[in-house]
């Protein structure tokens, strides 16, 4: 019945995605004064010109109509024009995505490798030192905001040691976010693996006389997969804050910087589009992670 679960999941995803888009749209419209008011402030526009502009941009219609309008155009690929720069928003977003993707994907991989290595090592060897490392990394991700680590990192590696350039380098942000991500996964993963070691089917594997590496790979590791996948979705959600701040700190031109500048400059079309892209991206990835989870576990087919 994989199809049933996929259908369930898809339904949930679509509902969530749609609801988020509506939410973003509503929040954008709540502020008194709209695009035209902003433009009116920038360059003097007479009331007549403002009314004309409103008609042109479709802002004199009801919110619902505007939403439908926007959605229709968005699906066709037209996300409007930036108020500050006059460029098509779709272009700006498209240009920003690769940077953010590189940062997010890179740090995710680093984090996963670190978390898996640490958790498996600690669970299999039972070493207290490694268990302490697990706790330490976990504590790091909770207590140290990424931008603080970023600042210290810049001070240490760019200014005092001079190893890395201050702006534009991906090395430091990926590392910092990586450790942050690892910290969120590593502790639950470690606990899960420790419990799995005591599990009945692992005992059966030992009773067969299998060598330890085989037990780890075929009998312990599969237990790690569902937990990792479940946590990965959450990690990605928290990555948003991390990429946002580090893009700003390290001067990387990604979606985060784009969104932030849009908020500061009241550039609603850009803000709307960027927020929607980020939100939908998250919904998509979370949904995929869940589907993957179900694919791996044969029991969930029933």
């Amino acid at each position: 019945m994989r199809a049933v679960h996929a259908a369930n999941r898809l339904a949930v995803m679509i509902t969530q995605g749609a609801a988020l888009v509506v939410l973003i749209f509503v929040l954008n419209r709540v502020v008194p004064g709209d695009t035209v008011d902003v433009l009116a402030l920038q360059g003097d526009l007479t009331p007549a010109q403002q009314a004309e502009m409103r008609r042109e941009l479709g802002l004199d219609r009801s919110s619902a109509a505007q939403f439908i309008d926007w959605s229709a155009r968005a699906l066709a690929g037209d996300l409007g024009q930036s108020l500050r720069f006059g460029r098509p928003v779709a272009d700006m977003v498209a240009q920003a995505i690769p940077t953010t993707l590189a940062l997010a994907a890179g740090s995710f991989i680093v984090g996963l490798a670190l978390a898996l290595g640490l958790a498996i090592g600690a669970a299999m060897t039972g070493s207290r030192a490694l268990a302490a490392c697990v706790d330490a990394v976990n504590l790091w991700s909770i207590a140290i905001p990424t931008f603080c680590a970023g600042v210290v990192g810049i001070l240490l590696f760019s200014i005092w040691l001079g190893w890395l350039p201050v702006i534009g380098s991906f090395v430091l942000p990926v590392l910092i976010l990586g450790i942050d991500n690892a910290g969120q996964i590593v502790k639950p993963l470690h606990e899960e693996l420790r419990e799995a070691s005591a599990a009945a089917h692992v005992r059966t594997a030992r009773a067969k006389g299998l060598p330890p590496w085989r037990i780890a790979v075929f009998h312990l590791l599969p237990t790690a997969a569902p937990v990792t996948l479940a946590l990965s979705g959450l990690v990605l959600t928290s990555l948003v804050a991390g990429t946002l701040t580090l893009e700003v700190l390290f001067g990387l031109p990604g979606l985060g910087s784009l969104t932030l500048n849009a908020v500061r400059g009241r550039d609603y079309p850009v803000l709307q589009a960027a927020a929607v892209v980020i939100a939908l991206g998250l919904v998509l990835i979370n949904g995929l992670a869940d589907l993957l989870n179900r694919l791996i576990d044969p029991r969930l087919e029933q």
Binding site: Q16, A19, L20, L23, I24, L27, N28, V30, V31, N138, L139, I142, A143, I144, P145, T146, F147, C148, V151, V152, I154, L155, I159, K187, P188, E191, L234, T237, S238, V240, A241, L244, T245, V248, L249, T259, L260, V263, R264, R266, Y268, L271, A275, I278, A279, L282, V283, N286
Partner: protein, 272 residues
């Protein structure tokens, strides 16, 4: 090992709260006062932690920031509790349909990263402490709501709750005798988890320039202000960074100790 952590956490928390309450009174300078003759001055007998790029006393700004940061974080936590625990509990008490609706909403909010939500709130309401606190309350409400639901589901599945119904016990009786003790412990534990996260999220927002106004500095804002001058005045940026890290750490350690005392059966931390 555990005891050291708890003691450290408690100590840091107490110091932080004290500074927040009393600090602005004992600081020798006003946080907004500019001493144009001492730009980016290093720590010394006059300015204990030095001055920033426009001559403001770092120590004064630090303690004033403590007050603002903690105030917002506490407000956010309490708001999250109200929305999450109270709303969630009411929904649970009312029945299946209210429960489904409320928790579908919770799931939706959970899918939204806190910072993004805050961004949108600020875009809608303008910068300031209130939109930030609201955003924090909404973002962290799921922690409380899901905890309340987990405790509710776990307890109502117990045979002893079923037995209570056979003695004629109604919802109120079950709530009082069987649910409330567990619920209280779990929710206080969650508060200990949510508070440090509120501090961090608030500081991220301030760092991005979206938090409170420039006149009431929070630590995140101080970091962002000082970051162009990192090389010349490392003290001005390190002070708020270290303050943030230490205070958050303190609350986390304290929250952990609380969890061990109140809810030793559960595994690490959050409802997420």
């Amino acid at each position: 090992m555990r005891r050291w952590g708890t003691l450290l956490g408690a100590a840091i928390t107490i110091v932080a709260v004290l500074l927040a309450l009393v600090g602005p009174a004992i600081a020798p300078f006003d946080p907004l006062e500019q001493d144009l003759l001492a730009l980016n001055g290093p720590p010394g007998p006059a300015h204990w932690l030095g001055t920033d790029h426009i001559g403001r006393d770092v120590f004064a700004r630090l303690v004033s920031g403590a007050r603002t940061t903690l105030a917002i974080a506490v407000a956010g936590t309490m708001g999250a509790f109200l929305v999450g625990a109270v709303l969630g509990s009411i929904a649970l008490a009312l029945g299946r349909i209210p429960e489904r609706i409320v928790f579908a909403g919770i799931d939706l909010v959970r899918a939204m990263p806190a910072v993004l939500l805050a961004l949108l709130m600020i875009a809608a309401m303008g910068a300031g402490a209130v939109p930030v606190a609201i955003a924090l309350a909404l973002s962290f409400a799921p922690f409380f709501a899901l905890t309340a639901r987990a405790v509710y589901q776990r307890e109502t599945a117990q045979p002893y709750v079923a037995a209570a119904r056979t003695f004629g016990g109604g919802k109120l009786h079950i709530l009082r005798l069987h649910l409330a003790p567990n619920l209280a412990g779990a929710l206080v534990t969650q508060a200990g988890i949510v508070l440090p996260r509120c501090i961090v999220t608030e500081s991220v927002l301030s760092f991005l320039g979206l938090g409170s106004s420039p006149d009431s500095p929070t630590w995140g804002r101080m970091v962002s202000d000082a970051s162009p001058f990192m090389e010349a005045a490392p003290h001005a940026i390190l002070a708020p960074v270290l303050a943030l890290v230490l205070v958050t750490l303190g609350f986390v350690l304290l929250g952990d100790a609380l969890r061990l005392r109140l809810d030793p059966l559960r595994r690490s931390g959050s409802a997420r």
